[in-house]
C-alpha cells in the first residue's frame, strides 16, 4: 500500500554512492561479535516458538479426532466454505462498485463518502453481530405464515436462508473496506493510464470497467478478497451469535468441550488450509495471464460528472455498504448505550476497565512498532538470503487464527513455568504473555510497513552516515527511525485498532481480573445484556474510527488529494 511520505530523502546520484561505497570498502574492518545478527535470530526465534509448538502438537495423541471426522467435521467444513464463498461474493461488489464510482465519477457527496467507506473497518464483526443477530426476530410473523401455508420444510429452509443471508451480508458490508481500499488505490493509481486509454478509444463506461479496469486491478482485488476470506474463516464471535458452526467455532468446542487440544489444533490447520486452498484456486484460475500497471503515474484520474438519477444511484450504491457495515449498527448501539447510561445515571458498566484495555494496546503497539523497525533494519544489515527467511518467519503469525496463537503461547509459557527458573516470575496468565501473543499474531503489520519504508529510504543516506563514522545503532536511531516515522505511525495506527478489536486470543490468555473492551463487550453480549454491552462496543468503535481518519490522511488517496 503506498503511503504518503515525508519529503523523500534526496537520493545521492549513483556516482556519488559508488564513490562512497568504494570508500567504505577500503576501511579496515574490525571483527567483532555480530550483535545485529543475534538480534534478528533471537526475535525471529521468539516469534516462531509458539507456532512451532502448535505444529509439533499436531501429531500428538487425540481421542476425539476419529469421531470428529465421522460426525461434525463435514458440517464444519461445509459451513466454513459456504460462508466464506457467500461473504466474498457479496463483499466484492460492495467494495469494488463504490471504489469505481468514487475514483472515476464526480457526484454530490463523493468526497465525504470516499473516506467514510473505510469506517466499517472500525467495527469488529462480533460487535456487528450483537446488533444484527436479533434482527431476524422481526421476520418471525412472516416465517410463521410460511409455516402455516407451505409446511414445516419450507419454513425450515426459509429460516436457514434468512439467517445465512443476513450473516453474510453483514460480514460482507463490515469487511468490504478491504476490497474497497485495494480497488480504490488500483483504480486511481495503477490503472489510470489503461482506463483513460480505453476511454480515448471510445469504450463506454461499463465496457471500460469490465474489460479494462477489472482485469488490470485483479491482483489488488484478490488481495482484498483474501483478507475478507481470512477474516471470515477466523471469525469466532459473529458465527457464535448466528449459530453457524464453522471450523473456528469447532476449534473452541472441541478444545473446551472434549478437552482435546490436539483435535482442536488439527481443525485449525484445516482452517488455514482452506484459506490457502482458496487462494491457490484463484491463482490457478488466473493462469498465465499477467497484468502490469503501466507506469506509476500519480496524477489523478479525470472524473466524469454524474447528475440527476445517475448521481443519486451512485450515491446509493456507495451508501449501502456504509449503512449496513457502519451507520446502522453504530446508530443502534448508540441508542442502546443511551438507554443504558440514562438508566444507570451515566455510570460506566461495572467491569469496564478502560485504562487496562487502552494501556495494553498502546504499550504493545509502541513496543512492537519499535521492535519491528529495528528488526527490519537489522535484517537489512544481514545480506539478502537469510533476511527473506527471517522476515517471513516473523510475519507468520498473521496467517494463523488468534485462538491457535493463544494455544501456542500457552504451550511455551507453560513449558518455561514448569522449569521453575530462579528469579523468573511466572509467565502464564500475565499481561506480558498476552502482549507477547499479540506480537506473535500481529508483528507482520509493523514489519511489512517498516520494510517498505526502509526500501524507500534506500541505502545512500544510511551509508553516508556510516561513512561519516556513525555506528549502525546510532545510524538507526538518528537516520532510519526518524525517516521511518511515517510508515511506523501508519503501522501503529493499524496495530492499535487490531489490538483493541482482538477477541479470541484475548479471551483465552487474559490474566485474572483483566478485561479489555472487547472481552467486556463479548461477555455482556453473551449474557444478553445488549444495552450494557453497547457502551464498551461503542468505545471499541470510537477508538478505531479516530485512527482510521488519521490513517486516511496518511494514505492520502481520499478526499484530500482526490
Amino acid at each position: 500500500m503506498p503511503f504518503a511520505q515525508r519529503p523523500e530523502p534526496v537520493a545521492a546520484p549513483p556516482v556519488v554512492a559508488d564513490v562512497i561505497r568504494g570508500f567504505a570498502g577500503t576501511r579496515p574492518r574490525v571483527p567483532r561479535p555480530d550483535r545485529w545478527g543475534l538480534l534478528v535470530t533471537v526475535v525471529a526465534a521468539l516469534l516462531l516458538l509458539p507456532v512451532a509448538a502448535v505444529v509439533l502438537r499436531l501429531g500428538g495423541e487425540s481421542t476425539a479426532w476419529a469421531s470428529l471426522v465421522e460426525t461434525l467435521l463435514g458440517k464444519y467444513l461445509l459451513n466454513t466454505l459456504v460462508l466464506v464463498a457467500l461473504v466474498v461474493a457479496m463483499a466484492m461488489p460492495l467494495g469494488i462498485l463504490p471504489a469505481w464510482l468514487v475514483s472515476t465519477c464526480e457526484f454530490p457527496g463523493r468526497r465525504i463518502l470516499s473516506w467514510m467507506l473505510i469506517l466499517p473497518l472500525a467495527l469488529p464483526t462480533y460487535v456487528a453481530a450483537f446488533v444484527f443477530y436479533r434482527v431476524p426476530e422481526a421476520a418471525i410473523p412472516h416465517l410463521v405464515k410460511i409455516r402455516t401455508t407451505f409446511g414445516v420444510d419450507a419454513f425450515l429452509a426459509a429460516e436457514l436462508a434468512l439467517r445465512y443471508g443476513l450473516l453474510s451480508l453483514m460480514l460482507a458490508a463490515v469487511l468490504s473496506p478491504y476490497v474497497y481500499l485495494a480497488a480504490r488505490s488500483a483504480f486511481t493509481r495503477q490503472c489510470r493510464v489503461q482506463i483513460e486509454s480505453a476511454r480515448l478509444l471510445g469504450d463506454g463506461v461499463t465496457r471500460a470497467f469490465l474489460r479494462v479496469a477489472l482485469p488490470a486491478a485483479r491482483p489488488a482485488l484478490v488481495a482484498g478478497g483474501a483478507f475478507v476470506a481470512m477474516e471470515v474463516a477466523n471469525d469466532y464471535g459473529a458465527v457464535h451469535f448466528f449459530g453457524v458452526p464453522t471450523l473456528s467455532a469447532g476449534i473452541f468446542r472441541t478444545w473446551f468441550g472434549s478437552g482435546d487440544l490436539v483435535a482442536a489444533l488439527r481443525l485449525a490447520a484445516l482452517m488455514i488450509a482452506t484459506v490457502v486452498g482458496l487462494l491457490a484456486l484463484e491463482r490457478l484460475l488466473r493462469g498465465r495471464a499477467r497484468y502490469s500497471a503501466a507506469g506509476a503515474d500519480s496524477r489523478p484520474l479525470a472524473r466524469r460528472r454524474l447528475v440527476g438519477v445517475k448521481a443519486l444511484l451512485a450515491f446509493s450504491v456507495c451508501l449501502l455498504p456504509l449503512t449496513v457495515g457502519f451507520l446502522y449498527p453504530v446508530a443502534r448501539l448508540g441508542h442502546w448505550a443511551w438507554l443504558h447510561l440514562a438508566a444507570e445515571g451515566f455510570a460506566l458498566p461495572e467491569g469496564l476497565r478502560l485504562g487496562q484495555s487502552l494501556g495494553l494496546a498502546a504499550g504493545t503497539t509502541v513496543a512492537a512498532a519499535f521492535l519491528a523497525a529495528l528488526f527490519a533494519y537489522a535484517a537489512r544489515l544481514r545480506g539478502t538470503m537469510p533476511r527473506r527467511v527471517f522476515l517471513s518467519i516473523a510475519g507468520l503469525g498473521y496467517a494463523i487464527p488468534g485462538a491457535v496463537v493463544a494455544v501456542g503461547v500457552l504451550s511455551v509459557t507453560g513449558a518455561v513455568d514448569r522449569l521453575h527458573l530462579p528469579l523468573l516470575p511466572m509467565l502464564g496468565g500475565t499481561v506480558a504473555a498476552l502482549a507477547f501473543a499479540y506480537a506473535v499474531r500481529f508483528f507482520a503489520i509493523p514489519l511489512k510497513l517498516s520494510e517498505a519504508g526502509l526500501e524507500r529510504i534506500g541505502r545512500p543516506v544510511e551509508e553516508a552516515s556510516r561513512v561519516l563514522g556513525a555506528s549502525p545503532w546510532r545510524t538507526f536511531l538518528a537516520i532510519d527511525l526518524p525517516l521511518l516515522k511515517g510508515p511506523l505511525v501508519a503501522a501503529a495506527i493499524l496495530l492499535f485498532v487490531d489490538l483493541l478489536k482482538e477477541l479470541p486470543l484475548t479471551l483465552i490468555l487474559r490474566p485474572a481480573g483483566f478485561e479489555t473492551l472487547a472481552t467486556t463487550a463479548f461477555s455482556l453480549a453473551s449474557e444478553a445484556r445488549l444495552q450494557a454491552c453497547a457502551v464498551p462496543s461503542l468505545l471499541v468503535v470510537a477508538a478505531g474510527v479516530l485512527p482510521l481518519i488519521l490513517l486516511d490522511r496518511r494514505l492520502g488517496t481520499g478526499s484530500h488529494h482526490g
Binding site: L72, E137, V144, G243, R353, G363, G428, A478, S526
Partner: protein
C-alpha cells in the same frame, strides 16, 4: 544537522517513557480473593461489593466457561492466582475435585444447612444455588397435557417446533449425562438425534434466546433453566418483559424420576493460600440473608433448608427434583459430549 526532536536519545526516551507508563497502569493490588467463575449474573457483582464492604476483602473475577477455567487451573497448577472455583454446573465441580484441583473446606460446618445431596461427601465443594432445567411453552400453541417428559420431545409431532441451545453448553451436557444414566447411551444418543431433528433452527444463543423464540412464535417449546423466566420478567428491556409474559413453565418427568436439577457451587482451589478468606466468602453466600437475596434477584433456588424461596419462584409451582448425584453428571460428561457429537447436535 539534526533537529532537536530527531536526536536519538530524545526520541528513544520518549518511547520508553510512554511504554513504562502504560505498562504499569492498573497492576496494583490489595487484599483480595481471586474467583475463577462460570457464573455470569449481573447481581453477583453487587454481592461481591457487599462482601468487600463487610470484610475489606476485595473480589477479583475471571469469567469463562467451566472447562476453559479448569484447563487454566491445570496449566497454572500450584502457581495459579485463583482462590475459589465457581461453576454453574454440578458436574464441573465433581470433575475439578477428581482432577485434584480442590481442597476440603477448612470448616465444613459452614455448609451444615445444605442437604447432603447438594454438597461433596469430602467437603471439597458445596452448592450455592439450585436451578431446574425445564420446558418453556407457548400456552397458545401447546396444551399443558401435550408435555410430559424430556424423552417425549423426541416425538415427530415436535418437528420444527423446538428451540434448544448448543450442546457445547454445560447445562445441556449435564442433562444429557442424566439421560445416559437413566436410559443408557444408545437411547440417549437416539433421543439427542431426534430432538436435534425437531429443532426449529440450528442451536444458537443462550437459554434466554430460546425462551424469546418461543415467545415470538417461532418455536413452541424450549428447554431452559428456571431462573431465566425471572430475569426476563425483570429485565431492563421491555421486549424481554413481554416475552416472559407469553410463556409458561412445565416441570418434566414428574411421573418418573423427577425434573433434572443442577447447582451452581464452589470449591476452594487446592493451591490457594487464602482458604480462610475463601471459606468466609462461602459462608457469606450460604447465609440466609444472601440466599434470599439471590432468590429475589437472580431467581435461582436457595440451597439451604432455612432460606425461603421468592414469591415469583413460588408462583412457578412446586416440583419433584431428580435425585441423581452430581458426581454421576461429572463422570458421564465426556460420554455425553461424545454422544452429542455423534447425534449431530452441534
Amino acid at each position: 544537522m539534526l533537529s532537536e526532536s530527531m536526536k536519538p536519545g530524545h526520541f528513544l526516551r520518549r518511547i520508553l517513557a510512554v511504554f513504562a507508563v502504560v505498562s504499569f497502569t492498573g497492576l496494583i493490588s490489595a487484599s483480595e480473593l481471586t474467583l475463577y467463575t462460570q457464573r455470569h449474573y449481573e447481581f453477583d457483582e453487587k454481592l461481591h461489593q457487599l462482601f468487600s464492604e463487610r470484610t475489606g476483602i476485595s473480589i477479583v473475577v475471571v469469567k469463562a466457561a467451566s472447562d476453559e477455567l479448569m484447563a487454566r487451573l491445570q496449566s497454572e497448577a500450584d502457581r495459579t492466582p485463583a482462590d475459589l472455583f465457581l461453576t454453574a454446573d454440578g458436574g464441573g465441580l465433581d470433575r475439578a475435585k477428581k482432577a485434584g484441583l480442590l481442597q476440603p473446606l477448612p470448616d465444613p460446618a459452614i455448609a451444615n444447612a445444605v442437604p447432603a445431596t447438594l454438597k461433596d461427601a469430602d467437603h471439597q465443594w458445596v452448592a450455592l444455588t439450585m436451578r431446574a432445567r425445564v420446558l418453556y411453552y407457548s400456552p397458545d400453541r401447546v396444551k399443558a397435557g401435550e408435555l410430559s417428559s424430556y424423552e417425549a420431545l423426541a416425538d415427530p409431532q415436535w418437528r420444527g417446533r423446538l428451540a434448544v441451545r448448543s450442546s457445547s453448553n454445560a447445562y445441556n451436557q449435564s442433562l444429557m449425562a442424566a439421560l445416559v444414566e437413566a436410559n443408557g447411551a444408545e437411547d440417549a444418543k437416539a433421543w439427542a438425534a431426534a430432538v436435534r431433528g425437531n429443532m426449529v433452527r440450528p442451536p444458537q444463543g443462550g437459554d434466554r434466546d430460546q425462551i424469546r423464540v418461543v415467545a415470538a412464535g417461532l418455536a413452541d417449546v424450549a428447554i431452559a433453566n428456571t431462573y431465566y423466566l425471572g430475569l426476563l420478567a425483570t429485565s431492563e428491556d421491555a421486549q424481554d418483559r413481554e416475552a416472559a409474559a407469553k410463556v409458561k413453565i412445565h416441570f418434566p418427568n414428574q411421573d418418573g424420576r423427577g425434573t433434572h436439577v443442577n447447582i451452581s457451587g464452589a470449591g476452594i482451589v487446592k493451591a490457594s493460600k487464602k482458604a480462610g478468606d475463601a471459606a468466609k466468602f462461602l459462608a457469606f453466600l450460604l447465609s440466609n440473608e444472601v440466599q434470599e437475596m439471590i432468590a429475589e434477584n437472580t431467581f435461582e433456588y436457595p440451597v439451604t433448608t432455612t432460606a425461603k424461596r421468592s414469591e415469583l419462584q413460588k408462583s412457578w409451582g412446586d416440583f419433584k427434583a431428580d435425585a441423581m448425584p452430581f458426581s454421576v453428571l461429572g463422570e458421564r460428561n465426556a460420554e455425553a459430549v461424545r454422544l452429542f457429537d455423534e447425534s449431530g447436535w452441534e
